[in-house]
Symmetry: C2
Subunit: 133 residues, 2 copies
Amino acid sequence: MTFVKMFDFRRLGDDRGSLVAIEANNNTPFPIQRVYYIYGSESNVARGFHAHKVLQQLAVCVAGKCTMLLNDGNTKVEVVMNSPTKGILIEPMVWHEMHNFSPDCVLLVLASEHYDESDYIRDYEEFLKQVNQ
Amino acid sequence: MTFVKMFDFRRLGDDRGSLVAIEANNNTPFPIQRVYYIYGSESNVARGFHAHKVLQQLAVCVAGKCTMLLNDGNTKVEVVMNSPTKGILIEPMVWHEMHNFSPDCVLLVLASEHYDESDYIRDYEEFLKQVNQ
């Protein structure tokens, strides 16, 4: 048991194909104000390297795979994301990094707020300072 | 000029990879209450074949490609969806079908409401009757 919350989404579908639905406030603990997707990343590229003060996010790898590293300042958890039915919650004040993108990876993220640069903590030492206050 | 509204999303990114962000009410004409994605469809499978009375949807093909057929009862428009930066609005009372899924296709759809079976019109003759009232 760690601070990381995972979600299992129901796969609707049959031999013809699959469908996964995520409803705001039903399958997410927040309203969905922003949806973004990351794709076309090189395997040697790492992304993220920040925490948010307020923003809540739910990430799902809808194609291919990547590795998500979450760090609450005390514990680091590494999760291989390779299923459209597995979601991972990125809560506020959790440092996160994404690594090992497969060429076909599409990482879908649902977020609780519109973009706000002032919500980012991009300096790791500053993150540790704030989280350990 | 047809009844079909297309959206061009800005691709944020560089040589390392791409990111597309869609914000509720900024990049969509509706709040985002539901997010679903269709994947693993066989190429000989067709999906959709319904219209909605009230639901508004924005569809983006975030991986692979498929063909979207939209029909307002008077005009049929066929759009090849093959770009993570191209969105298509599916407005109420528009019959829609999806065809020609590539094996790697992931069709992402943002919707204005939670799932409601009573909002579906699944009979084409009934759709024509209602739309031509």
